[in-house]
């Protein structure tokens, strides 16, 4: 709470970005690609962490929003000749608007029922991506998606593009860090913890519910806008329902509601399978076992586990140690 204390999340974000800027040295193209994919995924997970982890609204459409962002960016940059930065902004705005619309059911239905509504939306988006060939290219997808030119520097190669992803991810993470610490973040948290009490304290439940959905979805749109030039070819498959479940799993496994949780969760979801490649066909089974074991040992995710360990070391009651608690 005190302004003088250094914020651990902020320091970690900046230090992490600095390390990741140089990390790909000697990793080769593929290693660099995996690192970039980790960060892009983390951006989508960050958004879902706001909607679900902080505001408590269950959504199963994050990958669909990422798809909307990726396709919007791909179409705008390949067919309409729009620059990447404009496409990025439009993708975010489009997902913000779609998220706002999807937020309306959330004003009426809660918990599992809300998840079902978002699940239907997710399926709808996937069907449009697959069947509306005139627009999306159907199962053939869209290829030759250009990478952005930043201040006159081309990012066609893996390393410059990775550094570009690091910079964008850092900016997006800082904005969210600031948002969660603001009075809005406190209101989002109140929405999760006790909406009835929050309403009796004048918290505008409708506005904050819609905003939590819209901002979370916009982050998926931003992630999509980074994803399209990263892979340079997109088809509907990475944006289907199972991918939304996977993003949800990353929120929970990293530590739902913790500001750094999305990075840990995306690390588990994107990088761990790569590390397990040496096990050949067994890697999915091992990956699943690790995640199940983790969630049994600590339902609060990896960061919940770290917090518990830290508390035990310091031997004092758990007071204001977590990122979110510090944040609000």
């Amino acid at each position: 709470m005190s302004a003088s204390r250094v914020d651990g999340v902020l320091v970690t974000l900046i230090a992490g970005a600095a390390i990741l800027w140089f990390a790909p040295a000697g990793m080769g193209r593929y290693g660099t690609y995996v690192l970039s994919l980790w960060l892009v995924t983390a951006v989508a997970v960050m958004g879902l962490n706001l909607t679900l982890g902080i505001a408590g609204l269950k959504s199963l459409a994050q990958a669909a929003f990422m798809g909307i962002g990726a396709y919007a960016t791909a179409l705008l940059t390949t067919k309409a000749g729009v620059g990447w930065f404009s496409a990025f902004a439009i993708s975010g705005a489009l997902c913000f608007a779609a998220g706002l619309l999807l937020g309306f059911p959330a004003l009426r239905v809660k918990a599992h029922y809300l998840a079902f509504v978002t699940l239907a939306f997710s399926t709808l988006v996937w069907l449009v991506l697959r069947n509306e060939q005139w627009l999306t290219g159907g199962v053939f997808g869209i290829s030759n998606i250009p990478r952005p030119v930043v201040f006159g520097v081309r990012t066609d190669n893996a390393l410059p593009f990775h550094r570009f992803v690091v910079a964008v991810t850092l900016i997006l993470a800082l904005i969210l860090w600031w948002l969660v610490r603001s009075p809005w973040g406190r209101a989002f948290l109140a929405l999760r913890e006790n909406p009835v009490r929050a309403a009796s304290l004048g918290v505008n439940i409708r506005a904050y519910t819609l905003l939590a959905f819209a901002i979370g979805s916009a982050y998926a749109g931003f992630a999509g806008a980074l994803y399209a030039p990263l892979v340079e070819f997109i088809d509907p498959s990475p944006f289907q329902l199972s991918a939304s479940f996977f993003l949800l799993l990353m929120v929970v496994a990293g530590g739902s509601g913790y500001q750094l949780g999305p990075f840990v969760g995306a690390l588990l979801g994107v990088v761990l399978p790569e590390w397990l490649r040496f096990t050949g066909g067994l890697y999915l089974i091992i990956f699943a076992a690790i995640v199940i074991g983790l969630l049994i040992a600590c339902p609060q995710g990896v960061l919940g586990l770290i917090e518990r360990g830290w508390t035990a070391i310091r031997r004092r009651p758990m007071v204001g140690n977590t990122p979110v608690k510090d944040a609000v």
Partner: protein, 247 residues
């Protein structure tokens, strides 16, 4: 004295059951009105109808003469009516100070203004004053969920006062609070009434608490008003003794 709240013939039916069956009363500025009655007589339902958690089946609720029937809880709160709930309702993951800042922040400026304004919405000083007033200084940075039941009750009440409300509806503030804490709570509520000029309606089962705190007492039974009067009149009312207080 001006009339703050007018409740006119409020009814609330759940299926065939009339939980609140035509209740009328007024609350004058600066008074502390107690509402007593056996469990299930409709006291909390009445609060929910007044504050917009429930839509009354019939009847009117007026605040400062304006019809506010059916307004939602957020709007009622922004019009200066706050409440506590029968079951404890604090935000367990937030600190005591953060709970109080939350309780006041939505009354500060516009939504967009709050987003770009200070992190505490400029309320740290006000929250700390409230913490001091309710004698929770040593717990200001503690997680609200880790407080004792009685301390959480104090915090719950403090939150209802954070936005400087005109009218506060307290649903069983003394329920489950130990005797020492009870004295504190009563003294704090009286001080709030005297110093801040806040008007209260208090639902309570603890007779000593009600009779010593309230200026007037309303007795409910089976969804209806049985009697209204000063504590002394209520104690002496044969119908009340028969229905509720016992011989």
């Amino acid at each position: 004295m001006a009339t703050v709240l007018e409740v006119e013939g409020v009814r609330k039916h759940f299926g065939g059951i009339a939980a609140v069956d035509g209740v009328s009363f007024t609350v004058e500025e600066g008074e502390i009105l107690g509402i007593i009655g056996p469990n299930g007589c409709g006291k909390s339902t009445l609060f929910n109808c007044i504050l917009g958690q429930l839509l009354p089946t019939a009847g009117r609720v007026k605040l400062d003469g304006a019809d506010v029937t059916g307004l939602n809880p957020e709007d009622m709160n922004r019009r200066g009516v706050s409440r506590t709930f029968q079951l404890l309702q604090v935000f367990p993951e937030l600190s005591v100070r953060e709970n109080l800042i939350l309780a006041g922040q939505e009354h500060q400026g516009t939504m967009l203004g709050r987003l770009f304004g200070p992190r505490d919405a400029g309320l740290t000083a006000a929250a700390d004053r409230m913490i001091g007033f309710f004698k929770l200084q040593h717990l200001a940075d503690a997680r609200a969920g880790g407080l004792s039941y009685g301390q959480q009750k104090l915090l719950d009440a403090a939150m209802a006062f954070m936005a400087g409300p005109r009218l506060v509806l307290l649903d069983e503030p003394a329920g489950g609070v130990n005797l020492t804490m009870l004295g504190d709570l009563k003294e704090r509520l009286k001080a709030m009434n005297a110093e801040a000029g806040a008007t209260f309606v208090v639902i309570e089962h603890n007779m000593d608490f009600v009779m010593s705190l309230c200026t007037r007492v309303l007795v409910m039974a089976e969804g209806k008003v049985l009697a209204v009067g000063t504590p002394a009149e209520i104690r002496a009312n044969p119908a009340v003794i028969d229905a509720y207080l016992g011989h």
